[in-house]
Point group: D2
């Protein structure tokens, strides 16, 4: 039977991407879309590309009738999200796409987000939504916290290497090139076409990016000791995609073998043949993550390069994958579409 879905905060890019994915998902049906500032508008006014999707109009959150809803995706800004989610019906399954429930430790949350959490009692309840590593917990979870898109790609590339003990834990550098949709539909000068096109720059340098909180939490958990990575994201002029070039110390063949072993049974994670590196072009619009390993000319050093679509596998596609598990649907349902190229 088709599951009834609500999307809260549907007027942002991740909300629109959820609509796109669910529109061809045979097991889900969207019954409510909220968007406070745009309440009353048809979704086709906010996103004309959804004109043909037969979606309900945007309404205010307080006007959503959750009675018949099986699962809500919450695509609200952080802080707003925690305050909305804490008041949702207790029996409603929720996949949160914000940063609000990613960190388990209230002190870590306060450190990275600059305020104390308003729903600390729910922080422990939430399951971290990196599907390939939390599949069993997600299946039975009520609240799943979607990961950061940068956090997702970094973990896909490096997490199995930490678990397998094949790299030096003190020498992990994650260098990312990020598409601009990661900034959301926010109006800032640096994401204007006129200012972004035809160039690139690094940002959030030196350890200030909030996704470091996720890396610290997860990598330290896997390693059983404190792990701190060096992380530099760059903004480049394309809309979708993140490329992670990870500099690690270890044997390249062992690294490749550890990734192959970890992802052997995974539908959405492709480990390329040794020596090949992926491109974000090849995963655009998809739920796939491609990972490659190249040995450096200096022995004992390697680059692990990963590519995914930040809005799909890094956010809304991951969210649908998790919702599939929570709702007892086929994990890959609605997510097998290939990318648009060129």
């Amino acid at each position: 039977m088709t599951k009834k879905i609500a999307i809260l905060g549907a007027s942002g890019y991740t909300g629109a991407e959820l609509c796109r994915l669910i529109q061809t998902h045979s097991g889900m049906e969207i019954v409510a879309l909220s968007g406070d500032r745009k309440a009353g508008q048809p979704m086709a006014s906010v996103y004309p590309f959804l004109r043909s999707a037969g979606l309900p109009d945007l309404i205010r959150i307080e006007d959503v009738d959750f009675a018949g809803v099986d699962l809500a995706f919450c695509a609200l800004p952080h802080v707003t999200s925690q305050n909305v989610i804490k008041d949702l019906p207790r029996d409603l399954k929720v996949v949160d796409l914000s940063a609000d429930f990613r960190l388990r430790d209230p002190a870590e949350y306060a450190k990275w987000y600059g305020k104390s959490h308003d729903a600390q009692e729910m922080q422990g309840e939430a399951v971290y939504g990196l599907t390939e590593f939390y599949r069993d917990e997600i299946r039975t979870a009520r609240l799943v916290a979607g990961t950061g898109c940068n956090a997702a790609i970094g973990q896909f590339a490096v997490r199995p290497l930490i678990a397998a003990g094949v790299i030096d834990l003190d020498e992990i550098i994650l260098d990312l090139i990020c598409g601009v949709s990661g900034a959301g539909r926010s109006l800032r000068e640096n994401v204007l076409h006129a200012e972004l096109s035809e160039g690139t720059n690094a940002y959030a340098l030196g350890g200030s990016h909030r996704h470091l909180g996720e890396f610290d939490q997860e990598f330290s958990k896997v390693a059983g000791r404190k792990v701190e990575v060096q992380f530099t994201p760059h903004l480049a002029p394309f809309n979708r995609g993140v490329l992670a070039t990870c500099y690690v110390k270890g044997d390249a063949a062992a690294i490749h073998a550890a990734l192959r072993a970890s992802y052997d049974a995974e539908v959405f994670i492709e480990v390329l043949p040794m020596g090949q590196a992926p491109s974000t072009h090849d995963v655009r619009g998809t739920n796939y993550c491609h990972i490659g390993v190249v040995a450096d000319r200096r022995s004992g050093r390697a680059q692990v390069v990963a590519a995914l679509d930040n809005l799909c596998k890094g956010s809304s596609g991951q969210a649908v994958q998790n919702a599939n598990l929570m709702l007892g649907l086929e994990e890959s349902a609605g997510l097998m579409g290939l990318g648009v190229f060129p």
Copy 2:
């Protein structure tokens, strides 16, 4: 039962787009892919974005076993196409994406393509593949000739107006802005990123573009008299999409009504509310065509603006739509996906 599909000339962009569309089509299965220069290679080497599609390797045309094939898409260059198609089994259904069978008159073909046709006996047999206007003929056709992408958008915008007699037939101007994928995977300086990005230019000015042959043939047929349009395509720095701004003389309300009437029952053609104009952003990666009408400040003049994706509705999506009809499948099967935005 799933229909067996061969794609001849699968290494170009329209071939790759066919693979993308058919991969999620429940009624079709790709059993053979040919690509002479790349024969022997897996499709994932030629197009890594198809890595997960489980496609057969590329082979030479002469190695394709057509015995079990229900339909062949022919995505070869023109001239090559006519020579391949004339030697295909006579009971094989064929959708040709080249220009070779679009023009019925051998003299017109020779005029626009600079050579005499090598399979003139088949020119009459071919059905012109503008689905919404040749649906019945396509259903029973053995050979369907896919339209030019520019020819498709121009006809979607203007054809119903000629049929309805609501515009001046001597004053039709079709001004197009075209994405670069329309040029195919050809290696020319003007389609290099370095030369195309950050600017625009007109090309094939003054009546030299070959798609004029299609406009002349089809518009004159509908009008019952000779109709010659003025047509200027522009190349702009985006990959997919064509926007047609058509300057016509007639009553805007009557024009809008004629389009609404013509496309009322069509799944893939959306006529926007009066006064609204479409964007190629909203149809990227889809089989939809959006059309809008705006009255000019001078009475008796209007602009009809249409948008579609040249590789999909303008080429490979149209081809699948036609193949669905030819094979007795649901016309929209495999084509209902929404666009990727942003």
Copy 3:
């Protein structure tokens, strides 16, 4: 002796472009930059690409000492501009880049800009800044009104044809493709990289674009009768440049001859050989305008295609060219730089 220059409203794109041009102008020196919201900041904070230009910090307009200033460029938003300019010292030469003094008729201003003008007594004083056609008046003007960028390119392409009587005055269509910097540094969703890149759309259709006021005024003046053109601008994903494809009725050879005759002695207007069409790529970052003429296949019809850089020849370069005349400097001083390609 070097002329002292003030730029009011220097924090927008035209202000920044003025700084770029004047920085290599041997006859001008910038002594004051105003930018109310960013007052107190160094220009290098607002535009890091100007870091090496040795510019004064931004201050508030009321803090500018006009005593030693020879000429002020006013790059403020319209309405603001008229209110600032009416209070400037009466002996200060001013080049206004806003729309405020382009229209001579207060009723026309009110019609296109939706309000009555606050400095109507100065409207008559202002000289229209299309240099090549108002050179003598500009030389002795106190106040010059820079043209709209679209208005400039349309006039460069068509004005000599009206003057020469070689085209049908009732059948002029100006179809433009515009880069996004024409929208200024404004924060709107449709100029975000994520929403603009990879597509195009028409806007201000049907006769609503304000630059029509300039076309009406100027073309009617040249023709000695009312002339109303049809005008459709498109927004495409590049930063600088406007391409105008003008559909006109007349003899192509006569049209080409009229353009050649009109621009024979002009440094910045290049009329290409008959049959060639220009590209915005070739004028990016320059004060040049390239114009081409192509005969249509239907006799008596032609396309005139023009290309210029909206921020330079269409705005700030034009402003410097005018200022050179007003200050008795070489007209082309500071403007001979070639474009950056690729």
Copy 4:
């Protein structure tokens, strides 16, 4: 007196960039342009943006009269370059922009370029053209070898740190994001707009990029011991610019101080205030290099980020700067233009 300049291989991007720069250079005049495949064509046909530059037509190299030429820029492909240069008049000053004379050791040349050098006797004569570090040798050189663009940016960022002994020589990682013009006007699928736009990828991973030969040579020379860096370039969808994010181990304040000290008197190298990072947008079309230093959250680690324009400071601008020195002209002549933004 104006110096007479010949450009050999003027039909590539670096040749065109030389024309652009020299056109506004008061001390140089272009008297000959060669381009074998395009010999006989005016430069305006090959690069219409140079239409107004008054350049001589392209001719074959053997038709260049070197009698009155003061200096030749050689912008030919590598290997071709060495064979042309070895036959040039012995008293002709030459700036070579190819890779042919960058490596002093014939064995290193053979290792990185896969063939033995055809003019080994001239390898020792050539001066490495990194102006800021070889200024005195360049002044008296007959043959200067322009550096690789990636080699230039990496050295600007790291060379002073090696010289000052403030970083760990075994732990240098150079991560680059490169614009596509670095690939030249070559016709390859991966630099087509359709394939490059909207995504990114790493290339030449693992130590295979030829610019490593320059890093090894120069860094080892400065350090007085063997230094091998890890180097990963990425290709991203913009035309001009290279951003280098360098991961180093050392005290960030000492690193910043060493850069400031090294570049204090340099016109073209700007070291940003501590904690700031540059953008390629701000140096596009210029001869400037911006460098920033950010301390990592882990003490003893820092990122040094540098930005320059690969065609200008990374190639043709550097070449003009060197030629200025060789010809006794002002070092910055013709190079003080600011970038085009947006």
